[in-house]
């Protein structure tokens, strides 16, 4: 098991290097630092000296990949790629446009992000699996039919509608919770409850439909027939057998959902003014702060790879037949 984890982590290195190269290509080759400088400085003040100064302040004045002028190892290290991109491997993300340390900022914003993403994920999984099991229990009935119709309709509604509608109805008309904002400590729940609720509701449609298919496929299997023949009640079959066996595809789906979780929180955080990683990214996009976007791409990839590994490990817990070697 440990050997497997170590090996998987080693596999992750070339992938992260690839991610790094892509971001490097996007941020430094497609647009040279000169272009970025011109963009950041605006039209009026663009003199070659100003561009040089801007680049020097941020360390973009070095050659991109190879520094022929330097000697020895410095050929590789005194370059933009090594200074800006490769340093991300050791957690050095550099500074944002406003001079703040990106790594520290990310550390500060991790908490609120998790506080919204984790409950949404867990509660969402619970609600959708319950709903799907209920539909599978009443399969081929009118309840099942209208349940699926409802799911398709809910899938077809834009996620923005849930957010805007929820904010308008619950916060503005009913005045139950604040529209947006964030408070530290225990007070935070008042700000979190609405985004979490909306996150769960907007995921019900697609989630329920997918899990229902999984359960229905499982129900046609031989062991279910055997259990029924033995006289096990339908409810016991569903909860004891079908649910357990359906766990593997559910877990796979959950991993696929993790990048989506990131996207969800991106929108959610900026709508609700929660100072997490998502709103940090959006602010960076809107103020065209390349250093932050670059760091977030890298962190997003790291999170994804870790999530993938966690899923593989959780397979062994759910399904003892799977052994990781």
């Amino acid at each position: 098991m440990l050997a497997y984890i170590v090996r998987r982590l080693l596999y992750a290195l070339p992938i992260l290097l690839g991610v790094n190269l892509i971001t490097f290509a996007l941020f430094f080759v497609v647009n040279t630092p000169d272009d970025m400088a011109r963009m950041q400085l605006g039209v009026k003040r663009v003199t070659p000296e100003a561009i040089q100064k801007w680049k020097a302040e941020r360390g973009y004045d070095k050659p991109l990949l190879l520094n022929a002028e330097a000697g020895g190892l410095a050929v590789l290290t005194e370059t933009v790629f090594f200074q800006k991109s490769a340093r991300m491997f050791v957690g050095d993300f550099g500074r944002a446009e406003d001079g703040r340390d990106i790594a520290r900022e990310i550390g500060n914003r991790m908490g609120p992000s998790l506080a919204i993403a984790l409950p949404t994920f867990i509660l969402g999984l619970f609600v959708t699996v319950t709903f799907a099991l209920t539909l599978a229990f009443f399969r081929a009935s009118a309840f099942d039919f209208w349940g699926v119709v409802l799911c398709v309709a809910m899938m077809s509604i834009s996620g923005l509608f849930y957010i805007i509608g929820g904010q308008y109805l619950i916060s503005k008309v009913w005045r139950l919770v604040p529209i947006s904002g964030y408070g530290g400590g225990l007070e935070a729940w008042r700000f979190l409850i609405l985004p979490v609720l909306i996150g769960v509701v907007s995921g019900i449609g697609s989630g329920t439909r997918w899990y229902r298919t999984v359960f229905l496929e499982e129900i046609t299997k031989d062991y279910v027939r055997t259990a029924r023949a033995k006289g096990v009640s339908e409810a016991a079959i569903l909860f004891r057998h079908v649910l357990k066996n359906g766990m593997t595809p559910i877990l796979t789906q959950s991993v696929v959902a993790i990048p989506g979780l990131f996207m969800g929180s991106l929108i959610m955080e900026s709508f609700f003014g929660i100072p997490g990683l998502g709103s940090y990214t959006i602010e960076a996009i809107q103020s065209q702060d390349f250093a932050i976007v670059r760091s977030m791409v890298f962190i997003g990839a790291v999170l994804y790879i870790v999530a993938l590994l966690l899923t593989d490990i959780s397979y062994t817990i759910v399904d003892p037949r799977i052994r990781l070697r």
């Binding site: 991610v19 892509i22 996007l26 497609v30 647009n31 963009m39 398709v152 834009s158 503005k172 976007v293």
Partner: protein, 466 residues
């Protein structure tokens, strides 16, 4: 005679290329019985045909909006003709009243007065603060402003009756064709008993609903702003019509752009295996591990810099917005081809072990020939399913991306920009709800139809489904 100069935007080329592809594909399928089978099955599916009718209506709007031109400006004789900067489409020409009759600012649906109070000079009373009359909305009512409901209801009823007559004509023609060469009335009976191979009943019902809604709406929109007007006084119905093309392009062109890459790489990886497979797998794992939004955000940011630093590339604002739309399609395509590629690779791995391919290899048929003649046709169902399944997701994604500021150009009308502009107005008192509601409703209809159609396509094409 109005002088005009046809303008072909890049996205128009893609749209018509897509139409061409669809026609060629349809002709190819028609001649082959085994390929036609799933389509026959799909044609018998009521839900599929009803949603296809709705989708077709959206596509028609999109196609009309994809024929662009520039009107010649009035100039002195002998002078070289100058063309207007504004790029119009055939849809704009058809909807000229909607496009040109702009109010000052917000107005409610069917309103006769503006949303905001203004200082008006009333002869004899000096200046008064009141809600001014709209320039166009309900102008024909003149003094009888309070008769909006009666007038609109009557107009809607007349238009509805006309729509019903039109529908009867269509239904009559269809039943005549269905019951060709039989006793009169048999075609009609067979359609409504559901005995036809093609689900005509569903198509006709969907058509009836659409006509009964659309015809009165358009009739009324000549006299009122049926969905209200937005901040700069533009008719919301017009914006919805313009958004359709953007949504369709994002949903369809994106898939078109990524298809060649996904199909080629997927098949090559599965067929040749070995280091080719490793390399391709590495590429898509890397792309896949970057969360989509972030990759899109990074790429769009970079594209924006390229566009801003090269203003000389574009002669009109429409061209710039158009190129940005296409670039967005390409970026979305690059981030979304990995899923399809993985599916195709897996299927090719399975296919290449089958006897008939082994036999072809033993006969010395070249690899490329095997891939094109034997493997590609057997993967088409996966491609078709992916194409329709991705569509609705992409339409929804556009709205989200435009909100984040990495979607289409802000000057381009789309569901996303509409929602984004209307979002802040919910804070006003009284609430400006109409543009938001209209955008969400239009998007819902489009995406729901696409989802239902996609499900039916999957059921018809997936060999695993019983």
């Amino acid at each position: 005679m109005i002088n005009f100069q046809p303008v072909v935007l890049w996205s128009d080329i893609f749209v018509w290329l897509l139409v061409l592809c669809a026609v060629v594909f349809a002709l190819a399928v028609r001649r082959r019985e085994h390929l036609r089978q799933p389509w026959v099955k799909l044609a018998a599916n009521r839900i599929a045909m009803a949603s296809a009718t709705v989708l077709l209506a959206f596509v028609l709007i999109g196609l009309f909006d994809s024929l662009h031109y520039r009107v010649a400006l009035e100039g002195k004789p002998g002078q070289k003709t100058q063309y207007a900067v504004e790029v119009l489409s055939v849809l704009d020409a058809l909807a000229t009243p909607l496009r040109t009759r702009n109010e000052k600012t917000y107005s409610e649906p069917f309103a006769t007065r503006l949303y905001a109070k203004e200082t008006v000079d009333v002869p004899g009373q000096g200046t008064v603060r009141e809600y001014p009359r709209l320039k166009y909305g309900g102008k024909h009512l003149a003094e009888h402003e309070d008769e909006v409901a009666a007038d609109a209801g009557f107009t809607a009823f007349r238009a509805g009756a006309l729509a019903f007559l039109g529908w009867l004509a269509v239904a009559g023609v269809v039943s005549g064709v269905v019951g060709h060469g039989e006793a009169p009335g048999t075609g009609w009976q067979r359609i409504w008993r559901g005995e036809t191979a093609f689900a005509w009943d569903a198509v006709l019902v969907a058509l009836a609903l659409m006509l009964l809604v659309a015809v009165p709406l358009f009739w009324l929109s000549g006299q009122y702003h049926v969905f209200g007007t937005d901040k700069v006084g533009q008719d919301v119905l017009y914006q919805i019509l313009k958004s359709v093309r953007t949504g369709l392009i994002i949903g369809l062109v994106t898939t078109l752009v990524m298809l060649p890459m996904a199909v080629l790489l997927g098949i090559v990886a599965g067929y040749y295996r070995g280091w080719v497979d490793d390399a391709i797998q590495y590429i898509y794992t890397v792309l896949n591990s970057i969360p989509g939004v972030l990759l899109i955000a990074a790429a769009v940011l970079m594209m924006q810099v390229v566009i801003d630093t090269n203003p000389q590339w574009f002669s009109t604002a429409a061209e710039r917005a158009d190129l940005r739309l296409l670039a967005l399609c390409f970026i979305l395509g690059i981030t979304s081809w990995t899923g399809l590629c993985r599916l195709l690779r897996g299927e090719t791995l399975k296919l290449r072990e089958l006897e008939y391919i082994q036999a072809a290899q033993a006969f010395g048929v070249s690899s490329w020939r095997i891939i094109i003649r034997h493997i590609l046709p057997n993967l088409m169902h996966i491609v078709i399913i992916a194409l329709v399944m991705d569509f609705s997701g992409l339409v929804l994604a556009e709205a989200v991306l435009s909100y984040v500021g990495i979607g289409v150009d802000p000057t381009m009308t789309s569901f996303g920009t509409m929602i984004n502009n209307a979002r802040m107005e919910l804070g006003r008192e009284p609430v400006v709800w109409w543009s938001l509601t209209a955008a969400f409703a239009a998007m819902f209809i489009l995406v729901l139809a696409a989802n239902l159609f996609a499900d039916a396509v999957r059921d018809a094409f997936d060999p695993r489904a019983a």
